[in-house]
């Protein structure tokens, strides 16, 4: 088995001790897309002992231009599963956790706690802030990268160094910054940047070299140039500053600004009375709802809301509820847009409600 790693064993900075260290190390890759594809393959080839792949998406034909971990035959298959098979074939000595789920606030901290390093290969701002927050709170390095057209950014955030929120205290307004799907991305840039991410993760696991902490690496594939900019910890940082306001890993309310600000909320204490006349619409995803719901609730996960809107009756009155009161706000607005006139959402979510009711033990 060691023969596989002979070229590593020849490098003094790795050697037998380093290779053993890698074999006992655990890395979580959030997002098996353009960045995750190369990162996963190099982590597996390097012999990282356990690799988690968190992705709830399936392979689409338009992914194959850059997501080189997948084959044409994988179209339609869950990414976590297809990627896990590929890296197991590459290195059967690696244990792979194929996590076919969305990395969200219900699982962020418990998942991060299971690994030694996290690679943020996701493609949306709420997930990026969530990875950062969970990593800082759990004391795990967040190896971050993002790509747009020809431009890549790479940086490492840890508890002892500036975090993503120090660098970018707030995301751009929802809708102002296209995703890869909307704005396009040079396929090979994903390979360059994701590979760089794997390098930072491996250095972190080995404890060698200099990490990209307090430095943001900028890759300009069009100019064929890299630059770096330095940044400091922000004393006003909401997460790691002097008076933090973010104390847990919760998904940011991204896109909230576009929602109707006059939308009626319902306080947790008023829910019981309201439910004598209104129907509770539970929009939690199945994995969030494992430990119970309320009697008479209609379950319709937010991810399926658009497709299953016809199952609801627009003449009825709904209190929309999710786990913490973020997705429900969005879902309530969707219902209003679709012509539902009597819709409220539960402030603070079912978690807030459960906190006032000992007989409910929501996850």
């Amino acid at each position: 088995m060691l023969r596989r790693y002979s070229r590593h064993l020849l490098i003094p900075e790795v050697g037998l001790a380093g290779q053993r260290r890698l074999s006992r190390a655990r890395a979580l890759v959030v997002g098996a897309g353009g960045l995750g594809s190369p990162a996963l393959q190099y982590l597996a080839a390097a012999g990282v002992g356990r690799i988690g792949i968190a992705d709830d998406d399936v392979v689409d034909e338009t992914n194959l231009q850059r997501q080189t971990i997948f084959s044409t035959a994988d179209i339609g298959r869950p990414k976590a599963q297809a990627a896990a098979e590929r890296i197991t074939a590459l290195n059967p000595h690696v244990a792979v956790d194929a996590l076919q789920l969305r990395f969200d606030e219900s699982n962020a901290r418990p998942l991060v706690a299971l690994y030694d390093v996290v690679l943020d290969c996701s493609d949306r701002f709420p997930t990026r802030y969530l990875v950062n927050d969970a990593c800082v709170l759990e004391g795990k390095p967040d190896v971050h990268a993002s790509i747009f057209r020809f431009d890549g950014q790479i940086g490492v955030f840890t508890r002892d160094h500036p975090c993503y929120r120090c660098l970018y205290p707030e995301p751009p307004p929802a809708g102002s910054t296209p995703t890869c799907a909307e704005g396009g991305v040079l396929g090979v840039l994903a390979g360059i940047v994701g590979t760089w991410q794997a390098n930072e993760a491996l250095k972190s696991l080995l404890g060698i070299g200099e990490l990209l902490t307090g430095r943001l690496m900028l890759v300009d594939a069009l100019a064929g140039r890299t630059r770096e900019v330095r940044y400091e910890r922000d004393p006003a940082c909401a997460l790691c500053g002097e008076s933090p306001t973010v104390n847990d890993a919760r998904e940011i309310a991204y896109g909230e600004a576009e929602l109707d600000a006059t939308l009626d909320e319902i306080e947790p204490d008023a829910l019981d009375a309201a439910l004598r006349q209104w129907t509770l619409l539970d929009v939690r995803e199945p994995h969030e709802a494992v430990l119970g719901s309320l009697d008479g609730a209609v379950a319709l996960p937010a991810s399926e809301l658009e497709a299953r809107l016809h199952e609801l009756d627009s003449s009825r009155s709904y209190v929309v509820a999710c786990r913490v009161g973020v997705k429900s706000r969005w879902a309530a607005q969707r219902l209003r847009d679709a012509g539902f006139t009597r819709v409220r959402h539960l402030k603070g979510g079912l978690l807030g409600y459960a906190a006032r009711h000992d007989d409910f033990a929501f996850f």
Binding site: G33, D123, S176, T179, L216, L218, R227, V229
Partner: protein
């Protein structure tokens, strides 16, 4: 004074250039440079709060004073992956 402006990702796309120069009054600060860039490309205005500016390789606040010959990098967060 004249400063060089490097633009990345979404800012580069809106500005239509990754490398340009700005002429500013003496005593100008980073926020004045940003205002001049937005004047050139008004569609950048919504990105004001999220975009960070590095002056000569160091991310600074809008209050940071500029000097002739400075190099500014306009860095929007990008979510793609």
């Amino acid at each position: 004074m004249t400063v060089r402006v490097l633009a990345f990702a979404r800012v580069r796309e809106i500005l239509g250039s990754n490398d340009s120069t700005l002429t500013l009054n003496d005593g100008a600060r980073v926020s004045d440079a940003w205002a001049a860039v937005v004047e050139r490309a008004p569609a950048l205005a919504p990105l004001a709060r999220s975009t960070r500016v590095a002056r000569n390789g160091e991310i600074v606040s809008g209050e940071e004073p500029l000097q002739d010959g400075d190099e500014l990098a306009l860095l929007p967060p990008s979510g793609g992956g």
